[in-house]
Every structure is written in C-alpha cells, then in structure tokens.
Symmetry: none
DNA sequence: CTGCAATTTGACGGTTTTGTGACAGCGGCG
DNA sequence: CGCCGCTGTCACAAAACCGTCAAATTGCAG
C-alpha cells in the first residue's frame, strides 16, 4: 500500500478524541498533523498542505462549516478533500442543507475501520486532480490556466460557473451525466442546490456558445441528463 | 416523481424479506428484479444489466462475498455497484465486505429510508452505463456511456424507452422474447402496462431505425413475440 | 380463397421533462 | 453606499414522451 504516506490534518477541539484519532490514523500509516482549533489549523495548513482534512463540525469559535467554506473558497486550499466529523444526532440532511462543500461525513461514534475506509475512498476519488491542460474540441478552446474560452479565436464570455461547467463537459465528452452528477462534479460534493439549477446554467452556457455555433454540442438526454458531444 | 428509472437486482433467499424489499424499492420508484439465489442472479444479470445489486450476505450455496468477488472480477459486471445486506453489524464483517469490493452495506434490521438513502448515495457516485459498455452489431452501435445509438456513424434519435428496448435487444440477439418478457426486462417487473404497448414501442424503434436500414433487424415472430437478429 | 387472429400503424389525451424569462439576494468594487 | 455581475429558484411555456385505442393490414390455417 504505497498511497499511505498521505498527510492528514485532524482538526478537533476535544483532546481525547484527537489523541484517539492520531493513534488510529498513525496505525493506518498516515502522517498526522493535529490542530485544536481553526486558527491553529490555518497555521498547520500554511506550514504544509495536507492531503486531506478531518474536520470536527462542532467546535468553539469558528465552526467546521465556516471553515470548510473558507477553505473551499481559497485558491490554494479548495482542492483539499475534507471529511466532516459529526455527532450522530445531526442528520446528514441538516449538514447537507447548509451548502457546505465537504467530500464525505463520518458520524460519531464511528469505528476506525470505517473511518480509514472512508479516508481511503476519498483519497482515491480525489487523487487525479490538479494538472492544468489546454483542452480543445473542434475549434473550441478551453484554457485552464487563464480560465478563458475561445471559439475559433473569438473569445467567449462566460461566468465562473458556466466556465467550470464547460470545462467539465469538454474534459468528459461523449458521456451522459445526470444533473446530480453534474452538481457533484461542477458545484462540489455535498453542496445542496436544486437539480434544475443545472438546467439554467446549461441554458446560460448554450446561450453564450450559440453565437459561435457551438451550442449544439451541449446535448439533452431526456430522462437522464446532459452530454457533451462533437457529433450532432 | 419518476426520475428514478434505475434497475435494482435484489438477491435474497428469504422470500418475505425479498417481498418487503420489492415493496419498499418499488415505492421508491426503482425498477426491480428479484433473484432467490446466486444462479438465478447470474441469469438475471445476463438478461439485463442492473444499475445496482442488493445482495444478501448470508445465503445458502454461494455466499454473498464469493458472489461479489465473482462479479467484481468479471469484465461486464465489475462496474455494477453492490450493496451488501448483512445480518450482523459487526465491524470486521463490514470492512471485509468493503475490501471485497462492495460499495456499501446495510445491516438488518434496517429502515427503508436508510436503505434508499444509501442506494441513492451509491448510485450518485456511479456513472450511468458503468464503464464503457460498447455494443455493436453490423454497424449499429449502442453506447451505454453516452446513451447514444449510431448507425454507421450517424446518430439515431431515440426516446428513453426505445433506447432501453434496443439496448436490451442488441445485448440479447438471436432469441425470441414474448411481450411479457420484454416488459419484465425493459420496463421492470411488476410494472403493469398493456402488452400491446410493446408493439407500439417496437414500431417506434423500427421507425427510428428505418432511415438507416436497420429496421429489419427487429423481427416479428408471429404468435410469440419479437427477436433481434442480424440475419434477415 | 376466406375468415380469423395477430400485428401494424396513426392518432390522441394526458403526463412528465426540459426550456426560458424573470426576480431577488449576495458580494465585490468603485 | 449604489451599481453591477452572478447565482439559485420559481413559475409558466414548450416539448417530448407514454400508454391506449381502434382501424387497417397481414399472415395463416383450412
């Protein structure tokens, strides 16, 4: 198991639980950093970027949710996967309803096998991220570095969400995605917005693409979702 | 309501539980197939690929774990998500199950909200059509990933039902199916619609295929049903 | 060739899914 | 502050689709 030198930052205010987590995770051969509160967590992240953050959701001071938002909006940190630790009492829906952007949950009391299994799963899922490429399909160019789109040289004006949406589609062509999957991939996991919101952004994207004749590439697959395809 | 046309195969040896599951899952608007043991499950999977398998872990004959291994090592089946139904909530077993390759587990007794929530969660993570399942017969391509049908490169426009119907036929060629069987396989078990409805969808499918010259492959077997065949 | 039963086919009403325009809230920025 | 671009959600319009029916057609036994 060579993926096991991943660095995990545990943010948890209760010392006993913190120690327990450290013990368990070190046993599972992760490298551990600890933080007792959010300011300390900021410090640790600044020191060295962890591969994953295990974050308690109930903490004095800045809450886990706020901190998640903060992390997910920072350019440097937004790609760090976050697993939220919640008390069983809090329903997942409660958390989900709050528009957080974390990658998974574990609820106390949890078993260590379960915890490590979930960590592995999240790490596996978010592993191949981060590289910047130049995507282009039939004269439609998506430049990841500058976040700019050009259609046969002509610049296409897109909002941030439309850009991410297009970027996602262009890098996953010829494949149907349900609205839910699009939300997961483009908006982020565990972010709750209406599914139909996807429709609206699809609409906006098509509208922006239409003057250049590329709107037909965003295709509706009735009963399922949408697809990006070169073929009409 | 019915955005849920995912097909779930329930493999469970105890009839009462099976019926309960069917009731609950049909209520949640899934399309259900049932199997009482592993051999029957193999049959059902061969008939038509389910989107998810709900698998009892304790069964006479081949156990759930063995069957999971079998499925996960088969090229056609390795991408079908599996949820294991286990009697004991013991962690060891749980994790063993996860390591074997199943995607989640529920332990009896479980609540239906929990069950459906887990099913939804797993389905949400999986891409439609699984990994590239590419069916092709004589220039007629059925691509599960993009849910698109192409005839010699030309896209064929199909409604959801016609697509499923064709997908079913293409993956089971050279064999007659009665209307009832077609309804079971394509519409799902215990869905009551007139048998004649099959005729109409066959008609629609033929109509869509006709411009490309593939309509003759859908053949009528008078007195019995229909057959998909390459031979005229 | 005839008559019956099984299909084909076109049409229709109703339903579900998707497209679209409008709107209010938010946050950045001058 | 006030403007402005962006977002998510709604409500309504427009499509697409579904299941059923009945008339037309076809196939087949006799």
């Amino acid at each position: 198991m060579g993926m096991q030198n991943k660095r995990i930052l545990v943010v948890e205010d209760e010392a006993p639980i913190r120690d327990m987590l450290r013990f368990a995770l070190e046993r599972a051969e992760f490298r551990i950093s600890l933080a007792g509160d959010v300011p300390e967590a900021r410090l640790r992240i600044a020191e060295s970027r962890p591969d994953l953050i295990l974050l308690d959701w109930m903490m004095p001071g800045v809450s886990g949710i706020e901190f998640t938002r903060e992390l997910k909006s920072g350019a440097m940190t937004k790609d760090i996967p976050i697993i939220m630790v919640t008390a069983r009492a809090e329903e997942e829906d409660t958390v989900r309803g709050l528009n957080v952007g974390c990658d998974d949950y574990v609820s106390k009391p949890f078993s260590f096998p379960e915890l490590t299994a979930r960590i592995q799963a999240v790490l596996r899922r978010t592993l191949p991220g981060g590289e910047e490429e130049q995507l282009a399909v039939a004269g439609l160019q998506v430049d990841a570095a500058s976040q700019r789109v050009t259609a046969k040289g002509e610049p296409v004006r897109l909002g941030p969400t439309e850009y991410r949406l297009l970027h996602f589609f262009v890098s996953h062509p010829e494949r149907v995605y349900t609205r839910e999957q699009v939300l997961d991939r483009v908006w982020g996991q565990n972010v709750y917005v209406e599914e139909r919101t996807v429709d609206v952004h699809i609409r906006r994207l098509r509208k922006a693409l239409a003057p250049h004749g590329y709107d037909a590439m965003i295709q509706t697959v009735r009963g399922t979702g949408y697809r990006f395809s070169e073929k009409v």
